[in-house]
């Protein structure tokens, strides 16, 4: 079964080349079971940059808006076994860039989607941060740890029992809930 676990089809653009460089490596990495957050933390910032720049040339980025809510296993897009992603190609970058012109950055993180309008410089600093954050976590020993877990998530995930809360028996769970109502 060659179905992808997590569809990263949010850019929805046809890939220009099938070069085996960053794109293939990215796909191979993505085939781990970390889910979206692992993928993003390892994503090549150049890749994101090229999307930003194509966004700034007023090409309507239809497909990312489509995936605004990110289900963990989306039902649509099953027909494309390989998600389409833009290939890094410096030639695609717009040659004349106004440093004050802002473009949207869309960040998919752990089930939430945020869109920011930032200048190119700001965007680059964001990417730098992400790259640094992800390189520090390359040796991460837990499949749950992400580049910058929010405080809430850390509380949820990092309990004293090795990052996994002790699960409760279904029937007992229901009883304890019903008891509160009595």
């Amino acid at each position: 079964m060659s179905r992808a676990t997590v569809e990263l089809d949010f850019f929805g653009m046809e890939k220009a080349n099938s070069s085996k460089s960053q794109f293939q490596k990215f796909i191979d990495r993505r085939r781990s079971f970390r889910g979206i957050q692992g993928a993003i933390s390892k994503m090549n910032p150049e890749l994101i940059k090229s999307v930003i720049s194509s966004g700034s040339t007023n090409r309507s980025p239809v497909d990312w808006r489509k995936s605004f809510s990110v289900p963990s296993s989306p039902k649509e897009d099953r027909s494309s076994p390989v998600p389409s992603l833009p290939i890094l190609n410096p030639a695609l970058r717009a040659s004349s860039e106004d440093s004050r012109e802002t473009a949207p950055v869309t960040i998919f993180y752990n089930g939430t989607v945020s869109v920011f309008n930032v200048t190119r410089d700001k965007a680059e600093s964001i990417f730098k941060l992400a790259v640094e954050g992800s390189s520090k976590n390359v040796e991460s020993t837990d499949s749950l740890k992400v580049a910058n877990p929010s405080r809430d998530q850390r509380n949820l995930l990092e309990t004293r029992n090795g990052d996994l809360p002790i699960a409760r028996n279904k029937s007992l769970q229901r009883f304890l809930e019903k008891r509160k109502e009595r």
Binding site: F33, L156, A167, N169, L176, E177, R179
Partner: protein, 596 residues
């Protein structure tokens, strides 16, 4: 087993000793599954004779074989037990649509299994249509139907059972998720059946059943021995209790009225296994008149505090089985140890986490365990959630609980400081002392058991067939040392540990008896490829990737929680599964490499 037919036949006819006729008479008396397994491996003739005469079969995971293979080998089977979803499903850890569909099995049963009288599906997905097919085809002979922690069906499916399975002695639905349309199914059962002995819809949330139908069943079925129901007002059951004159076991019900009103309830004279849901301290006295007869007591869903437990337990000297929550406390365990010398099975579950909901005395620790092990020498099964623990208490268990076959300990995570960690020596001494141990579960926390302790587990559990290890060990070295031992380990569950894929794969290759592995929480490799080190023929590897699930936390608020990835691997003669939901990935271990 493939044998050279001619050669074997020649040997059999010329060999002195047991003739086939004699063997055919002896074989039906061999019931133990391990014995049967051994018998079937001796030679072709014994294999065939076993196939003809084996009465019961348990298939521990339905995907390890196929209905077709079952039919070809055991066409004359009388009793079948099939299990589907991993055990973790009981803790809401497995996607609902993971699999374990009974449909292909039911179709095969309907078609070919003419001797089948008893069917038990556990943690499987059952549809109304399956129940209809089963009832229509086997209804005339079916005596036992158990839909145990199953889901996917409604009371409409049960209508078919009620109408067409008139020979049913046992209808068991405990903990199944059933869509309730009405209570008509129970009425059908009541008017069509007069041989029912066991009726169980405990923990099913079926509320539209009419107590009049229960009463009718009690009147019609002279051999009704065990009834476990959902929440139904006890005062409505006075007539039922009166009619069920040979009843020995009753669980369920509820108490919604004034405590004084329950004095009119009189229980059947032979009642010795009891569990009254929502029973509080004020209703408890209705049990006192026959407490000394009680062999089994279920207080899991009662509303008693520590003192109540003490008061009740001390009146039950013949108690053999007790299930309750940790509100029993150390004090309750001390009373148990003093009063219940015949205790064989004890299960202490985890109560509510919020202090207000449970007794503040309601914690179980080394103190209770030490008293228990010294007092209840006949203990065979012990499962307990503790708030504190010491090596000494585990050593006591090793010293005194010589009959222990099944030991499960979970260390709760409320307390920051635990009196005595790591538990390496205690675990070692427990395992060495409890020589009959077959099943073992240890769920601790980081620092709870070192790699040395994990090595002890490997070294000192020669007969253990099933293990659950949670948050133990310190590194891959521990797991590898562990897997050099455990010669009998068939089924291993690992949760919340720090082991890498590489180590997990390597340990699988070292565990000589292992046929089933489940892991949640591990160090994933970059590509997920390290698992391939355990790729081998007939070994299916499946993955449930990390997902987000909604869980209600302690304050009842819905929370979206990250549920880490699972690995499930098992031997199968049926090849890889083909009925995957999108939440499950099969690791394709064919020569072309990893295909997801």
């Amino acid at each position: 087993m493939e044998q050279n037919d001619n050669k074997v036949n020649k040997t059999m006819t010329t060999q002195p000793g047991m003739s086939d006729v004699v063997l055919g008479c002896v074989m039906p008396y061999i019931d133990d599954p391990k014995d049967r397994d051994a018998v079937s491996l001796v030679c072709r003739r014994w294999y065939e004779l076993d196939a003809l005469t084996r009465k019961h079969l348990t298939i521990a995971l339905c995907y390890t074989t196929s209905p077709d293979r079952l039919r070809r080998r055991f066409r004359h089977l009388e009793s079948l037990k099939l299990k589907g979803k991993p055990r973790a499903a009981m803790f809401n850890l497995i996607p609902e649509d993971w699999g374990g569909y009974v449909t292909p099995w039911v179709n095969e049963i309907a078609e070919n299994f003419n001797c089948l009288k008893s069917v038990h599906f556990r943690r499987m997905i059952v549809q109304d249509s399956d129940l209809e097919v089963l009832a229509r085809s086997r209804g005339k002979v079916l005596q036992v139907l158990k839909l145990d922690k199953c889901s996917g069906f409604s009371t409409d499916g049960l209508l078919h059972v009620g109408r067409m399975c008139r020979q049913l002695r046992t209808l068991f639905l405990e903990e199944s998720s059933i869509i309730e349309k009405d209570g008509q199914w129970l009425h059908e059962l009541a008017v069509n059946n007069s041989v029912l002995m066991t009726l169980n819809f405990y923990m099913t949330d079926l509320v539209k059943v009419r107590f009049e139908d229960l009463e009718l069943i009690a009147r019609n079925c002279r051999y009704l021995v065990s009834v476990k129901i959902s929440d139904c007002e006890i005062l409505d059951l006075v007539g039922f209790f009166h009619a069920a004159s040979v009843l020995e076991e009753f669980c369920g019900g509820s108490f919604n009225d004034q405590p004084e009103r329950y004095s009119v309830v009189s229980f059947p004279p032979r009642l010795c296994r009891l569990g009254l849901t929502y029973m509080g301290k004020n209703e408890m006295p209705i049990v006192f008149p026959f407490a000394s007869l009680l062999k089994k007591l279920d207080l899991l869903y009662a509303l008693l505090d520590t003192e109540d437990h003490c008061l009740l337990i001390q009146r039950c000297p013949n108690l053999e089985v007790l299930e309750t929550r940790n509100v029993i406390g150390d004090r309750g365990l001390e009373v148990l140890a003093r009063s219940c010398k015949r205790l064989k099975r004890l299960r202490i579950e985890r109560g509510a986490d919020e202090q207000e909901m449970e007794d503040e005395e309601g914690v179980v620790s080394q103190r209770g365990l030490m008293a228990l092990s010294q007092g209840c020498l006949e203990l065979e099964y012990l499962a307990v959630y503790v708030s504190d623990i010491t090596n000494a208490s585990l050593q006591y268990i090793g010293t005194y609980s010589k009959n222990l076959c099944d030991f499960r300990l979970v260390l709760l995570d409320k307390e920051e400081r635990i009196t005595d960690l790591p538990l390496d020596n205690g675990v070692r001494d427990l395992l060495r002392g409890c020589e009959k141990l077959r099943r073992f579960a240890l769920y601790l926390r980081p620092g709870g058991l070192t790699d040395v302790g994990l090595g002890y587990i490997g070294q000192y559990s020669p007969k253990v067939r099933w293990m659950l290890l949670g948050s133990v060990g310190g590194s891959d070295a521990g797991l590898l040392e562990f897997s050099r031992g455990c010669p009998s380990l068939q089924k291993l569950e690992v949760r919340g540990c720090c082991f890498s894929e590489r180590a997990l794969a390597a340990s699988v290759m070292q565990l000589t008896s292992l046929r089933y592995l489940w892991v949640q929480g591990y160090r994933a490799s970059d590509s997920g490829c390290d698992l391939l080190a355990m790729a081998r023929p007939f070994w299916n590897i499946e993955l449930i990737p990390a997902r987000r699930i909604v869980m209600t936390d302690q304050v009842g608020e819905a929370d979206v929680v990250e549920d880490p990835a699972h690995i499930l691997a098992y031997y199968s003669l049926a090849g890889p599964r083909t009925d995957f939901p999108e939440t499950v990935i099969r690791l394709d271990t064919s020569a072309t490499g990893v295909e997801l």
